[in-house]
């Protein structure tokens, strides 16, 4: 008997522009002790299925066909009160972001005890004992004391453990985990996945893991369903789907996952999905504005040279200096980047890699050390004019394409702003022409210029960010996790675009990422950071083939085991 059955599920979202079918004729089943993966890119409808199963569809979403059976009992037709009693008691749910999943104003004990007492009616005392026990099971050290703490006193990984404990409170039969590790570092991700897998086997719980990450799928699932535009296009055992996919979409999806084992010249494109932006018209860079004035004064030695960079944050402010607690986010970092080189900086969250980037472009003032750019120490610059001169040569692309563009400005003005500020064009007409050319060049098309950022998808917005960064005709580009918020197929497109631009314009890049496979594909040399310190710097291929630092080896080991992935049918240009 199946534990959970989803039969012919159809979910519609009526809107002003007609009905959107989010989930179309989807059937899935889970056995006790089995982990089913549901994989797909954003908008494929995978989260909607999870919400529908627990009866928490966001209005105006509506189940128009199909049914959900829990141990052969139909649960989608129950009244709201009966559905509520199933939630948490028989079906548990884990969400993506552990930082926001817990009530910040209550101790985790209050939250655990409330849930346990509600479902199991154990009374205050027994519930507390069970809460401590649960925390021990999910691997929180010293649970008797930590249980009195508030969520903000736990790190991200620990909070996700608390969330899992909360989902396990009443020993549910099914757990639905919606992107449970997306917000976590790889090392934490590995631990959490291991924990989930163990709990699932020990307690014979059926688990559905919803994710966009092929690495997670390879790590933990027994079976996989691949979703594309609301439909399940392929389903089978994990080994079969990853090793020998039948459907062209699955094949494209898997081929777009950056490979950790070998460096390719370009990312394979997901050819099944129509590319959201392709270069409609290439600009001849030898004559175009963008390609002119690229004769920056030559430098002896590296273009960028960091010396013993230190950044200190005050964690506990106090009136007297001796009472203040400080924390060195970046602690004595030195490295060089040569002209035309792509330098990667890799590390887990909190390792200080973004802080380094911010100091390089003078967003933060370093507590000590030098930032030498083409022979000038940027930290010593006093005059605004001189600073602008370097700012023009150095641009940044940020991680989050949703908050890095001003939502009240049209794309035209967003991209034109740096051109106007640095007075790089002689007339307004010329500015507009340049903006349109830039948009064309990054693959958006000039008609994008009159629209607002919210009208674009994440990948398109990241293209706008790139166009904006190019608008000052920079020499040096800082990319801070430029694709970590994007789907894998979009990531491939954006990274290809960055590679092309880098080659065409001879850009020098500082490329920051936590994703080792991406680093391998993009960078010439890599620095590994941990807790504010730079552990090692080496040529990318050397780092992957023979890492020196123990921590680097650890990181490499934690890379998702993609050896199961198929690379057949992979057509790589000039690989």
């Amino acid at each position: 008997m199946d534990l959970l059955n989803i039969n012919n599920l159809r979910i519609e979202f009526p809107s002003r522009h007609g009905t959107v079918v989010a989930v179309d004729d989807v059937s899935l089943s889970v056995q006790p002790g089995e982990v089913l993966g549901v994989v797909g890119e954003s908008g494929a409808g995978k989260s909607t299925i999870g919400n529908a199963v627990i009866g928490l569809l966001e209005p105006p979403g509506e189940m128009t066909a199909g049914h959900v059976l829990l141990k052969s009992e139909q649960i989608d037709t129950l009244n709201p009160e009966a559905k509520r009693k199933i939630r948490g008691r028989r079906i548990g749910m884990i969400f993506q972001d552990p930082l926001t999943s817990l009530d910040p104003l209550q101790t985790i004990e209050q939250q655990l005890v409330e849930t346990i007492d509600l479902h199991l009616k154990l009374g205050e005392k027994k519930s507390q004992e069970r809460a401590v026990d649960l925390l021990r099971q999910v691997g929180i050290p010293d649970p008797e004391n930590r249980i009195k703490n508030y969520p903000h006193q736990f790190s991200g990984g620990m909070r996700q453990r608390v969330v899992i404990a909360l989902a396990l409170c009443a020993e549910p039969e099914v757990i639905i985990a919606d992107e449970p590790t997306t917000a976590l570092d790889v090392s934490i991700q590995a631990q959490i996945l291991e924990l989930m897998r163990r709990l699932c086997k020990d307690k014979q719980v059926g688990m559905i893991i919803i994710t966009h990450d092929m690495g997670v799928i390879a790590d933990i699932t027994d079976r996989v369903a691949v979703m594309y535009r609301g439909k399940v296009v392929e389903e089978g055992t994990t080994a079969k789907i990853l090793g020998d996919p039948d459907h062209p979409y699955t094949q494209s999806l898997i081929s777009a996952v950056p490979r950790p084992d070998i460096r390719l010249r370009r990312f394979p494109m997901v050819n099944y999905i129509e590319a959201e932006g392709e270069r409609s018209r290439n600009i001849d860079l030898s004559t175009h504005w963008l390609g002119r004035h690229r004769d920056f004064e030559a430098v002896d030695g590296p273009l960028l040279s960091l010396k013993d960079l230190v950044m200190t944050f005050v964690t506990k402010p106090a009136f007297f200096k001796r009472n203040r607690s400080t924390f060195n986010a970046v602690d004595g970092v030195s490295f060089d980047i040569n002209e035309g080189e792509v330098f990667g900086l890799v590390g887990e969250s909190g390792s200080g890699k973004s802080t380094v980037a911010r100091m390089v472009c003078s967003l933060y003032k370093p507590a000590a050390g030098e930032v030498n750019f083409s022979g000038t120490d940027l930290t010593k610059i006093r005059s605004e004019n001189e600073r602008d001169f370097f700012r023009r040569q150095m641009q940044m692309i940020f991680q989050d394409p949703f908050s890095s563009l001003n939502g009240r400005m049209r794309v035209m003005d967003i991209i034109a702003e740096p051109i106007r500020f640095h007075q790089l064009a002689s007339s307004n007409q010329e500015v507009e022409q340049i903006v349109n050319d830039l948009l064309d060049h990054v693959g958006l098309g000039a008609q994008a210029s009159v629209r607002f950022p919210h009208e674009f998808s994440g990948g398109q917005r990241q293209r706008i960010s790139i166009a904006r960064a190019l608008a000052t005709r920079p020499r040096f580009l800082i990319c801070d996790e430029p694709t970590s918020a994007l789907d894998v197929s979009i990531q491939a497109q954006i990274l290809n675009l960055l590679k092309d631009l880098q080659e065409e314009l001879g850009l020098t890049m500082l490329f920051i990422s936590h994703d080792l496979p991406v680093i391998r594909q993009m960078c010439d040399r890599v620095g590994v950071m941990k807790q504010g310190k730079l552990l090692e710097v080496s040529a990318t291929e050397d780092l992957f083939e023979k890492p020196t630092a123990a921590y680097t080896r650890e990181l490499l080991d934690l890379m998702p085991r993609l050896d199961k992935l198929s690379h057949e049918g992979l057509e790589v240009e000039g690989a």
């Binding site: 928490l56 509520r84 948490g88 910040p104 209550q106 006193q153």
Partner: protein, 324 residues
């Protein structure tokens, strides 16, 4: 925590000194204090003597220092008009204003927060749409008009409630209260509603907006996914998180209730500080004006400090021991 309070105290003292400076400069720059005190026929020599005696020939800083020290002790001099110490004049009326503001503040919270929660939860219902429309009227109608309309309806047409004054009051030491007599309580109703109406709608709309925001957060979604009943999700988790920002606004508004009771007090002839202040303006009674200014600033500073400390109590994230 201690250093935080210490810092706030230093800031508060700076604010109070600045306000005191403004109050003090009124004496020097609005009219001639000697002219205000003596009659037409006082001789020039007497005037000079009085000026010397009052210390008005001293350097500016000395005079200001003297004023600030006196003010810190609650001594604001003698009212030009009443010929009584300003401090005792204000003290007499302080209880009237504070009682009115207190009742209005309680009304604001007791009515505003539940209505805000209701309209946030039942946003589509007819009743909450009606409440939202009414609240627009509450925000946009000026206080004096509401007061006059209430007087017209309940005082003149229905003759249910008194339209002016405090009714009978009972003295408890220097504090006089209207809470203990029927006429005192009846007299409080119309002015406190008038004073509270704007704040009530403001708090209601604020609570509604904050609550809608909180209801969209992940932890509410996760609470529902754990099967917690609506009652617990709404009141235990959502409401408490909603109230964090509401506390600040409530603190500021409490200050505003005391300070801007002036209009309500004028309309209802309420014998409070506001009325005293309005009369002081028309009489150019500068000591009263100065004292009122300093006192209101003092209220604001104290209330804001309490709000900041309350923040610490409500929100564990702000407490100093937030180590991992």
């Amino acid at each position: 925590m201690i250093s935080f309070i210490f810092k706030r105290l230093v800031q508060s003292v700076i604010v109070m000194l600045t306000v005191a400076l403004i109050a003090f400069s009124m004496f020097r720059f609005i009219g001639d204090p000697i002219n205000n005190m003596v009659g037409q026929d006082t001789s020039q020599a007497d005037r000079a003597a009085l000026t010397e005696q009052l210390g008005l020939n001293d350097p500016f800083l000395v005079q200001f220092g003297r004023f600030a020290l006196n003010a810190a002790e609650g001594n604001f001099g003698i009212s030009y008009k009443y010929r009584q110490p300003v401090s005792s004049l204000i003290l007499e009326r302080l209880s009237a204003t504070l009682e009115l503001s207190l009742v209005a503040a309680i009304l604001t919270l007791v009515v505003g927060i539940p209505l805000g929660v209701y309209t946030a939860l039942k946003g589509k219902g007819l009743l909450s749409k009606g409440i939202m429309t009414l609240s627009l009227i509450g925000v946009s109608l000026p206080t004096f008009l509401i007061g006059i309309l209430l007087i017209l309806f309940f005082g003149v047409m229905l003759r249910w409630l008194p339209t002016f004054g405090r009714g009978d009051v009972v003295a408890l030491g220097w504090w006089t209260t209207g809470f203990l007599t029927l006429s005192g309580i009846k007299s409080l109703i119309l002015p406190s509603i008038t004073l509270a109406l704007f704040q009530m709608t403001l708090i209601m709309r604020l609570v509604r907006a904050e609550m809608l925001e909180v209801l969209r957060t992940d932890f509410i979604k996760f609470a529902r996914a754990r099967g917690l009943p609506d009652r617990s999700v709404h009141f235990k988790h959502a409401l408490k998180n909603t109230l964090v920002p509401v506390i600040t606004i409530t603190g500021l508004q409490l200050g505003a209730l005391i300070a801007f009771a002036i209009i309500t007090e004028s309309v209802f002839q309420w014998p409070g500080m506001g009325l005293l202040f309005i009369q002081a303006i028309s009489d150019v009674d500068i000591p009263i004006m100065a004292a009122y200014l300093v006192l209101i600033a003092f209220f604001f500073v104290v209330i804001n400090m309490i709000v900041d400390i309350l923040y610490y109590a409500v929100d564990p994230r702000l407490r100093a021991d937030s180590s991992v």
